[in-house]
C-alpha cells in the first residue's frame, strides 16, 4: 500500500459559475462534490495492511495498533445482525470501500490555511459563518481527517480540550486511554468493531470540573469521495459539574454507489455533569449510516441525545444512556424522516443501573412514500433498584398508504418499586387535512411540510434556535421534493 495521489470523485464536476454563490446555511442539501487530491489513501478493501497503513500514517502508539488489529479480528468473526435487522445490510460490499482518505493528519487552525479545494465545500455548507455567529468551537472533518479545528480562546483558557481523535491520541494519551472504548466495547456490535479497527477523525472533548461551556461546540462531517467509508470516533468527557452542548452535522454528495458512515460516539458525564449531544444529519440516500452512540451518566449527571435523522439509505442508530450513578438522568429525543427508498431504523437504550435514575424517550418518525421507519427501544430496570422512572413515547406519522412503520419497544422492568409509562401512536396526514390547507392557499408541498413540522413542533422547540431553523428547512426541502 503506497501513498497515492489524485483520487477523484466520479461525481460530475461542479460548475461554480452556475451554482448559487450565496454562502450560508440556506444552501440546498449537500449534494455536490469538488475534485480533491488525496495525499493519503489506504486503497480499496479491508485487510490487516489497511489497518496498519492507517495506524502508521497517524504515527500511533503500539497499543492503538494492537487495539485496531484486535478489533479487525472481531469484526471479521462477527455475523451481520440480519437475524433482527434488515437484509439490506447484506448489500454493503466491504471489499469495494475505501477506508482512509486524507490530505494530511493535522487540521488547520484558521480557515485561510485550509486548502482551497476543501475550504470551498465547507464555505458552501456555511460552516465558517455559523462558527462566527454562535459556536464556541468547530471541527470540520473531510473524509477521514479534520481539515479544520479551532476553539475560541476564551473557552480554551478554561481548560477545555477540543481536538480530533488523531491529535488527541498523540497529545492527551493518558486521559484518552482511560475512557476510550469503555462505554462501547469493541465487540458491542459488528459496526462498532469495524469502527474500532479503522477509526479516524471524530472529536475528543474534555471539559474540566465545574466549567460550563456557554456556546455549543460543533463538528461537521463531510463525505466527499465515492465508495468511501467514514469512521469517526468521538469521545466526550464532562468532568464533575461540567456542562457542554455538542452538535454535529453531516452531509455527503449523492453517488450511485453506496457510501458507508459508521461512527462510534462515547460520552462520559461525571458526577453532576451535563452533556447535550445534538445531531442533525442530512445524508444523501446512498449512505449506509450505522452508528453506535452511548453515554455513561454518573451520580446526578445528565445526558441528553437529540437525534434528527434525515436522509440516508439505511440508518441504524439507537443512542443510549447507562444510568450508572444515583439520580442520573438520561434522555433521547429522536426525529426520523424516511422518504422514498429510505429506511430509518432508530430508537433508544436506557440502562438503569442505580436507584432513583430517570429516563425519558420521545421518538417521532415520519414515513413518506415508500419510506420506512422502525423504532427499537430498550429500557432496562433491574429488580434490585428502587425509585427509577422511565417515560417512553413513540409517535409515527405516515404520509401515504405505502409507507411503513414498526415499533419494537422492549421494556424490561423488574420489581415493583419503579415506574414506567409507555405511549405510542400512529397518525396519518390524510387527504382531507392537505385539502384543507390547500384551500387556504398553500401548495401541496407547503401543506405537507407544515403538517410534518407541526408533528415534531413540540420537540423542535427544545433545540437551539439555529438548529430548529435548519431542521425546518431540511424538512421543507424533503417534503417539497416528495410531491409529484
Amino acid at each position: 500500500m503506497s501513498q497515492s495521489a489524485a483520487t477523484l470523485s466520479s461525481a460530475p464536476p461542479f460548475d461554480e459559475t452556475v451554482a448559487n454563490p450565496v454562502v450560508g446555511i440556506d444552501q440546498t442539501a449537500g449534494n455536490f462534490s469538488y475534485k480533491v487530491d488525496y495525499e493519503f489513501d489506504a486503497g480499496t478493501g479491508l485487510y490487516e495492511n489497511t489497518v496498519r497503513y492507517i495506524s502508521s500514517v497517524k504515527k500511533e502508539a503500539p497499543w492503538i495498533l494492537e487495539f485496531r488489529l484486535n478489533a479487525l479480528k472481531k469484526f471479521l468473526s462477527m455475523p451481520m445482525p440480519t437475524h433482527w435487522a434488515t437484509k439490506d445490510l447484506e448489500n454493503i460490499n466491504f471489499d469495494k470501500i475505501r477506508y482512509y482518505l486524507s490530505q494530511g493528519q493535522k487540521p488547520k487552525r484558521t480557515w485561510d490555511e485550509v486548502p482551497d479545494d476543501i475550504k470551498r465545500t465547507f464555505e458552501r455548507l456555511g460552516i465558517p459563518e455559523q462558527e462566527r455567529k454562535f459556536l464556541a468551537g468547530v471541527e470540520a472533518q473531510f473524509d477521514s481527517e479534520a481539515a479544520y479545528s479551532n476553539i475560541k480562546d476564551i473557552v480554551a483558557k478554561q481548560g477545555v480540550i477540543f481536538a480530533n481523535s488523531t491529535e488527541a491520541l498523540r497529545e492527551h494519551p493518558e486521559i484518552f486511554r482511560k475512557f476510550f472504548g469503555k462505554v462501547i466495547p469493541t465487540g458491542d456490535n459488528k459496526f462498532s468493531a469495524l469502527n474500532s479497527a479503522v477509526f479516524s477523525g471524530g472529536s475528543f472533548i474534555y471539559v474540566p470540573p465545574g466549567v460550563k461551556v456557554a456556546q455549543p461546540l460543533q463538528a461537521y462531517f463531510r463525505i466527499n469521495a465515492e465508495n468511501f467509508g467514514q469512521f469517526e470516533r468521538t469521545l466526550i468527557i464532562a468532568d464533575e459539574g461540567a456542562e457542554l452542548t455538542y452538535m454535529e452535522g453531516c452531509t455527503a454528495p449523492k453517488f450511485s454507489t453506496s457510501t458507508l458512515h459508521s461512527a462510534v460516539v462515547e460520552l462520559v458525564a461525571l458526577k453532576g455533569a451535563k452533556i447535550q449531544y445534538i445531531t442533525v444529519q442530512n445524508w444523501s440516500n446512498n449512505v449506509f449510516n450505522l452508528v453506535t452512540k452511548r453515554g455513561v451518566a454518573h451520580e446526578e449527571a445528565e445526558i441528553k441525545w437529540i437525534d434528527c435523522n434525515i436522509g440516508s439509505r439505511l440508518t441504524m442508530k439507537y443512542p443510549g444512556v447507562i444510568l450508572k450513578g444515583r439520580k442520573a438522568r438520561g434522555e433521547v429525543i429522536s426525529i426520523a424522516l424516511a422518504n422514498d427508498g429510505q429506511h430509518q431504523d432508530t430508537g433508544a437504550k436506557m440502562i438503569h443501573a442505580a436507584d432513583e435514575t430517570t429516563s425519558n424517550i420521545v421518538a417521532k418518525s415520519i414515513s413518506v412514500g415508500q419510506g420506512r421507519s422502525t423504532y427499537r427501544g430498550i429500557v432496562h430496570i433491574p429488580k434490585h433498584l428502587k425509585g427509577c422512572k422511565n417515560n417512553t413515547e413513540c409517535d409515527a406519522l405516515l404520509i401515504n398508504t405505502n409507507s411503513r412503520t414498526d415499533t419494537y419497544p422492549a421494556i424490561t422492568i423488574r420489581g415493583d418499586r419503579n415506574y414506567v409509562q409507555h405511549e405510542a401512536s400512529v397518525s396519518k396526514i390524510n387527504e382531507e387535512m392537505i385539502f384543507y390547507m390547500q384551500q387556504r392557499g398553500l401548495t401541496e408541498g407547503q401543506a405537507m411540510s407544515l403538517a410534518v413540522n407541526g408533528f415534531i413542533n413540540d420537540l423542535a422547540r427544545q433545540f437551539p434556535m439555529e438548529y430548529s431553523v435548519e431542521l425546518k428547512r431540511l424538512i421543507d426541502l424533503e417534503m417539497e421534493g416528495s410531491v409529484g
Binding site: E432, M433, F435, M437, Q438, G441, Q446, A451, N453, F455
Partner: protein
C-alpha cells in the same frame, strides 16, 4: 365586480353522480342561501368548486370572472379568491393558528415578498376582536381539540383574514350557540359588501334572520329545484321539504 358562474355542473364520487346538472350565478355583493335535505349534495357542491381531488367533475363548468377554474389545483383556486368554510374543518396538530394563517397570507404574496409581521398581527388581533375570539387562540393548534363552535368561529376568522372574493360557507351555523351565532353573523355582515359574494349552506332559518340572503335556493337530488327570495326560506320552514317534493312530483307528471 366579480362573478362565480356554475354551469350545468355534474360531480361524481367514484361512479356515483352526486351533483346532477346544477347552475347558479353569484355576483359579488350577493348572498345566496342553499337549503336542502341531508345527503342531497350541498357539501359535495362546495368541495367540488373548491377543487377537492376526490370529486370528479363529469360535466359542466365553473367560471371565476369568466375563466374556468376546473383545471386549477385547490390552492390556485384559493389564491384566486375562493374560500370554503368547511362543514367539518380539519385539525392540524402542532401548527398554531398564527403560523397557519401567516403561511396562508404569505402564499398570496409575490415571490420574494415578505410578510410584515407587525401589520399581520395587528390585523389578526383586530379580526379576532371582531369575532370575540380570545387572543390566546393564536398559539393553539388549528382546530386541535376545539369545540364544534370554536372550529366554526375559527373558519370565519380565516375568512376575515384572507378576504376572498367568494366565500362558500357550509353549515357555518351548526354547532354555534345562540350568542356565537350572533357574533359570527355580525362578523359576516361586516365583511359583506360590494367585494364579497357568499354562498351559504344552511338547514336553519335562524341564520338567515341574522344574515339576510338576497336569494334562497332549494337543492334536491343534486340540483337546484326551486329559487326565490328570503321568503322561500320561511315557507320551507313552515311547510317542510315534503312540500317541495310534492311540487316536484306534480311538475314531472304534468
Amino acid at each position: 365586480m366579480s362573478s362565480l358562474v356554475i354551469q350545468d355542473l355534474h360531480v361524481a364520487i367514484g361512479a356515483k353522480e352526486i351533483v346532477n346538472g346544477l347552475s347558479l350565478t353569484i355576483n359579488s355583493g350577493e348572498v345566496h342561501a342553499i337549503m336542502g335535505p341531508n345527503g342531497t349534495g350541498k357539501s359535495t357542491l362546495s368541495k367540488a368548486i373548491a377543487g377537492h381531488p376526490d370529486y370528479t367533475i363529469t360535466g359542466g363548468d365553473v367560471l371565476l370572472d369568466g375563466v374556468s377554474i376546473l383545471a386549477k389545483e385547490a390552492d390556485e383556486r384559493a389564491r384566486a379568491g375562493l374560500f370554503l368554510a368547511f362543514q367539518y374543518p380539519s385539525e392540524i396538530p402542532g401548527v398554531s393558528i398564527a403560523n397557519f394563517l401567516r403561511a396562508a397570507v404569505q402564499s398570496r404574496m409575490a415571490e420574494g415578498e415578505e410578510i410584515d409581521a407587525t401589520g399581520y398581527y395587528k390585523k389578526l388581533y383586530a379580526k379576532m376582536d371582531l369575532l370575540k375570539i380570545d387572543r390566546k387562540f393564536t398559539a393553539r393548534a388549528v382546530n386541535d381539540g376545539f369545540s364544534g363552535g370554536e372550529k366554526k368561529r375559527c373558519e370565519i376568522l380565516q375568512m376575515a383574514m384572507l378576504e376572498p372574493k367568494f366565500a362558500l360557507m357550509d353549515e357555518t351555523d351548526s354547532g354555534l350557540d345562540i350568542d356565537a351565532l350572533r357574533i359570527v353573523a355580525d362578523g359576516v355582515n361586516t365583511m359583506r359588501g360590494p367585494n364579497l359574494g357568499v354562498l351559504m349552506i344552511t338547514h336553519y332559518q335562524r341564520l338567515l334572520d341574522y344574515i339576510v340572503p338576497d336569494y334562497v335556493h332549494v337543492m334536491w337530488d343534486g340540483r337546484l329545484v326551486k329559487s326565490g327570495d328570503k321568503s322561500l326560506a320561511l315557507e320551507l320552514e313552515a311547510k317542510g321539504y315534503d312540500w317541495v317534493k310534492k311540487e316536484l312530483a306534480a311538475a314531472v307528471t304534468a
